[in-house]
Symmetry: C3
Subunit: 109 residues, 3 copies
Amino acid sequence: MKLVISIVQREDADTLLKSLTDAGHKATLVSTTGGFLREGNATLFVGAENDRVEEILDLVRENCHKRTRYLSPIVPVTEPSEFYIPEPVEIEVGGATVFVVDVPRHERF
Amino acid sequence: MKLVISIVQREDADTLLKSLTDAGHKATLVSTTGGFLREGNATLFVGAENDRVEEILDLVRENCHKRTRYLSPIVPVTEPSEFYIPEPVEIEVGGATVFVVDVPRHERF
Amino acid sequence: MKLVISIVQREDADTLLKSLTDAGHKATLVSTTGGFLREGNATLFVGAENDRVEEILDLVRENCHKRTRYLSPIVPVTEPSEFYIPEPVEIEVGGATVFVVDVPRHERF
Ligand SMILES: Nc1ncnc2c1ncn2[C@@H]1O[C@@H]2COP(=O)(O)O[C@H]3[C@@H](O)[C@H](n4cnc5c(N)ncnc54)O[C@@H]3COP(=O)(O)O[C@H]2[C@H]1O
Ligand SMILES: Nc1ncnc2c1ncn2[C@@H]1O[C@@H]2COP(=O)(O)O[C@H]3[C@@H](O)[C@H](n4cnc5c(N)ncnc54)O[C@@H]3COP(=O)(O)O[C@H]2[C@H]1O
Ligand SMILES: Nc1ncnc2c1ncn2[C@@H]1O[C@@H]2COP(=O)(O)O[C@H]3[C@@H](O)[C@H](n4cnc5c(N)ncnc54)O[C@@H]3COP(=O)(O)O[C@H]2[C@H]1O
């Protein structure tokens, strides 16, 4: 058995969950926060037999999309007369970051 | 060392936590959401020496109970004159789903 | 690849996140609850190449501090005339509890 841990953008979490459960997979959702942007994102835990991991990864790839975020850097105001609007910084946030972990033992009660 | 990850129903989380800590185990609770029913449930992380895993699994089995949920399916209304009340769908939610993962390295600071 | 799971006190989570991202690491934050004190704490997931784990553990050690919590035990009131103030119980909460888990497969979409 494997535990597939996928960190995805909040915008994709619902459609991903629906496509996973429609395909008969079971999943658990955790609300998480990105360490860098400090924006809310989502982490899905999907426990699956080894031979179903590829299918799960395909569903993650199909349902999760890269997006560009624009951050306006905080500008230290020096001379108020200097009218300076900095270029926003572009940050590309990937569709999904996935960790597949071994589960040597699985129980259901 | 092992990390015991137990997904349980919210109704059982408190009594399970109490019985784990009363037995001297340490645990961390995460509020989670079921992927299918979209109901709040709970996930417990318990790091434990290998020889204490059986005891933890026994406590999970004793404190977590199956429950039946009744879902009323959303009925597409065709003819308003058709008065149709569908049978609720019965879903059995298990007491606990447990993943035991190897922890080759553990540190406390 | 490894997944470094660190359970830390809420007071240290922000400075730890900042020092991790300043050093180029990526991290995801989960709000969690301690099983014993039932206080809010924080769990960080950091996926990292094997040769960067030591550096991450150093940052956790440097940014997370032990603290003492004082709990006043709940005293069953017997005779109202007995004026009894119990000694508060001292609990030392560690700076961090860290589990390092193997990640045999990692994908980014
Ligand atoms: N230290 C740093 N220096 C410079 N730029 C940085 C950075 N950390 C992150 N970024 C950039 O900011 C985006 C959002 O990161 P955030 O930490 O908010 O949100 C992250 C984080 O929550 C999670 N994540 C990604 N890789 C991770 C890893 N190795 N371990 C744990 N969480 C990870 O996935 C989200 C999206 O990550 P993604 O890589 O697609 O996109 C990242 C990346 O492009
Ligand atoms: N392999 C796994 N990986 C990750 N998380 C897992 C998991 N197996 C179980 N869980 C977690 O445990 C909860 C209870 O699952 P259980 O199988 O007992 O009870 C399930 C099952 O009877 C049914 N169910 C779940 N997914 C289904 C699906 N794709 N198709 C049909 N029925 C499903 O609905 C009940 C509630 O499911 P829900 O998703 O709301 O909540 C799930 C989910 O949060
Ligand atoms: N093996 C493990 N698996 C999963 N999570 C773990 C863990 N070891 C530690 N943690 C997490 O780290 C927090 C701090 O633990 P620490 O051992 O430093 O500090 C602990 C410890 O000094 C004491 N404590 C915890 N459990 C106890 C128990 N069963 N009996 C007596 N004292 C306990 O209370 C402090 C706060 O505990 P709390 O549970 O509120 O919060 C815990 C818990 O969320």
